[in-house]
Symmetry: C2
Subunit: 315 residues, 2 copies
C-alpha cells in the first residue's frame, strides 16, 4: 500500500488546514493510500479526532520541532533533526514512506530533496515547476520556477524531458507539446542561453518540441510544457500570483482569473530526484493539502520516478 | 520651436490613426511644437485635410517607401532609403527634427536609433523600457524589455541611471526609487547577474537604490524604476500584455485592468541614444500617437538627452 508522508506543521495554516485537507481527501478516496502524518502529536491528535479521521487511515510520527518559514534552510535542517521536515526526509530516504509533502520552509524542502534524496542518475539539476492556467481550462507546466537561477542549455533540455514525463503521467497529456520560453518566435531569436538551447531541444527525440513561445503565449493553449531558466520562471510565477491577488482586491469575479489562485493546484513536485517530493505554498489551505496528497499518490502509482530513471538511462 | 518627426506610415492602423492622434494632440496643445510628418504624401494630404489639421502646424516630408512590419530590419533600412523610417532618421541625424516617433517595424527603429543616432558617450548599451501600471494609479518603468537580451552587471547599473533620469524628467517623479528585479528580496539572492549587479547598484550615488523586488512587487508601489535584463523584461511585458487581452475577452470591466492596455501609454523611448527616439506599438491607435507626440515633446523640452549626457560624463 502506498504510504504518503505529510508534514502536519508546514504552512501558515497548519496543522488545522492539513487535517481538513486529509478529511477531504479521504472522503473522496475512502480506501486509498495510507497517510504517515509527521508533526507535534499532542497538537495533532485532538484535531484528527475532532475531524473524525479514521484511525486506520493514518500513522502518526511525532516530531517535536518545527522549522520556521524564515529560518535558514541548511542550518535549520542540520540543527533541527527532530523537525517534521527533517524526519520526513529521513522516512523517505529509508523507504518508510513513498512520497513526502510539506507546505513548510521551501528552502529546507529543496535542500532536503537535493541532499537527503539525491538526483536521479543522469539528471544534472533537479527542477521545480508550476502550473499555468490556460484560458481553455487546461493546465500548462512552466519550469524551472526558481530552483535553478542560472542554467546551461543542457539543463533546459533536461527540464523539457522531466516536464514532459510529468505532463504525460500526472497531467495525463499524450505527447505533450514542449516549448522554449523566448523573446521571439523564430529560431535564432533569444539570449545566448535560449539560442544555444533551441537546437538541442530540436534534436531531442524524447520530447515533442514545438519551438519558441513568447510571454504572451504562456496562458494560451500553445504548449503543455514551457521551459525557461529559474530566474525568468520565478519572476513570471510571482507576477502571475500578484495578478490573482489584484483580481481579489478588485473583486473580479471571473472563472478564469479564479484559476490564477495557485493554491488550488496544491504544491509543485521537485522533478528529477529519486523519490516523490512535493512542496506546497506557505499559504496552503485544505484544498491545497488535498490536492498535494492526490498528486503524490499519482506520482507513486504511475511510478513517475522510475519512468524518469528509465528515460535518463537511455540517453 | 520644437520639431517633432512622426512616421505616418508606421503601425497597423497608419496613417488614419496617426492623423487622428495629431488632431487630438493639437486640440489639447494648440500653440505647441511643429510636426514634421513623414510618409506617402498623396495618401496623407487628403486625410490631414478631412481632419482639418491646420496647415501651419505641420510640414510634410514625402516618403514613397514603407518598411513592412515583418521585414528584416537592417536589410530593409539599407535598401529602402526612401522609406519613412529611413528618412526620419536622416532628418533626426542632421538636426532637421528634434525627435522621431514611429509605430512601425520595431527592429528597424532600434537599428536606426543605434546606428544613425548612436549612443551617448559613456552609455555601453542603450535600453528600451515599458510602463507598468501600478494599482495605486501611478506608473512604474521596467527596463530593459528586449533590446538587450544578455546583460553584464554594469549594463543593469546604467539602465538604472537612464531609467531614473527618465522617471525624474518625464514622469516627474522626485528622487525615483530604483529596484533590481530579482527572485528574492534579501541581498545575496539571485542569479549570477543580479548577485553581481546588486553591490554596484548599491554604490551608485546617482540613483536612489532601494534593493531587490520580486515578480509580485512589480505592480505594487514599491519602486518607480525596475531594472532587469531584456530577456526577463520582454517575457514579463508580453505576459502582462496578454493579461490585458484576456481581460478584454473575458469582458472584465475594471479601471485598473484597463490600464494594462499598453497602447494608452503611447510608445517607449530608446534611452541612452543622443536624440529622442520613440518606438510605438504596432497596434497603436489615435491615443497612442497623441501620447507619443506628448512624450517626445517633453523629452525635447526637458533636454533629457543632455541630462543623460551630463550624468554619464560625471562618472
Amino acid at each position: 500500500m502506498t504510504r504518503i508522508g505529510l508534514d502536519m506543521m508546514g504552512g501558515d495554516y497548519a496543522p488545522l488546514e492539513a487535517v481538513k485537507g486529509i478529511e477531504s481527501f479521504l472522503s473522496d478516496n475512502p480506501t486509498d493510500a495510507h497517510l504517515v502524518l509527521i508533526g507535534n502529536e499532542p497538537e495533532i491528535t485532538p484535531l484528527l479526532a475532532s475531524y473524525k479521521i479514521p484511525v486506520s487511515s493514518y500513522s502518526l510520527v511525532h516530531a517535536p520541532e518545527i522549522i520556521g518559514m524564515h529560518e535558514h534552510p541548511t542550518k535549520a535542517l542540520k540543527e533541527k533533526q527532530q523537525s517534521s521536515i527533517a524526519i520526513g526526509f529521513q522516512l523517505l530516504a529509508t523507504g518508510k514512506i513513498d512520497a513526502f509533502i510539506s507546505a513548510g520552509n521551501t528552502g529546507a524542502m529543496m535542500v532536503g530533496a537535493l541532499f537527503s534524496i539525491k538526483a536521479i542518475e543522469g539528471v544534472l539539476r533537479p527542477t521545480i515547476g508550476a502550473y499555468m492556467p490556460k484560458e481553455n481550462g487546461e493546465l500548462g507546466l512552466l519550469l524551472d520556477v526558481g530552483l535553478n537561477a542560472d542554467c546551461k542549455p543542457e539543463n533546459l533540455n533536461q527540464f523539457a524531458l522531466l516536464g514532459s514525463l510529468y505532463a504525460q503521467h500526472i497531467l495525463r497529456i499524450d505527447n505533450p507539446r514542449v516549448a522554449l520560453v523566448n523573446l521571439g518566435e523564430e529560431e535564432g531569436k533569444g539570449n545566448l542561453l535560449t539560442q544555444a538551447a533551441f537546437p538541442i531541444l530540436k534534436e531531442n527525440t524524447k520530447i515533442n518540441f514545438i519551438g519558441n513561445i513568447e510571454g504572451r503565449d504562456i496562458l494560451l493553449d500553445k504548449a503543455d510544457v514551457m521551459v525557461c531558466e529559474g530566474f525568468t520562471g520565478n519572476v513570471l510565477l510571482k507576477f502571475a500570483e500578484s495578478i490573482y491577488d489584484m483580481s481579489l482586491r478588485r473583486k473580479i469575479n471571473d472563472e478564469h482569473f479564479a484559476r490564477f489562485n495557485f493554491e488550488i493546484y496544491g504544491g509543485v513536485p521537485v522533478l528529477g530526484v529519486a523519490k516523490p517530493v512535493i512542496i506546497g505554498h506557505g499559504i496552503s489551505h485544505a484544498s491545497a493539502f488535498k490536492n498535494m496528497i492526490a498528486i503524490a499518490r499519482r506520482m507513486v502509482d504511475t511510478h513517475l520516478t522510475d519512468e524518469i530513471e528509465k528515460s535518463f538511462a537511455q540517453s
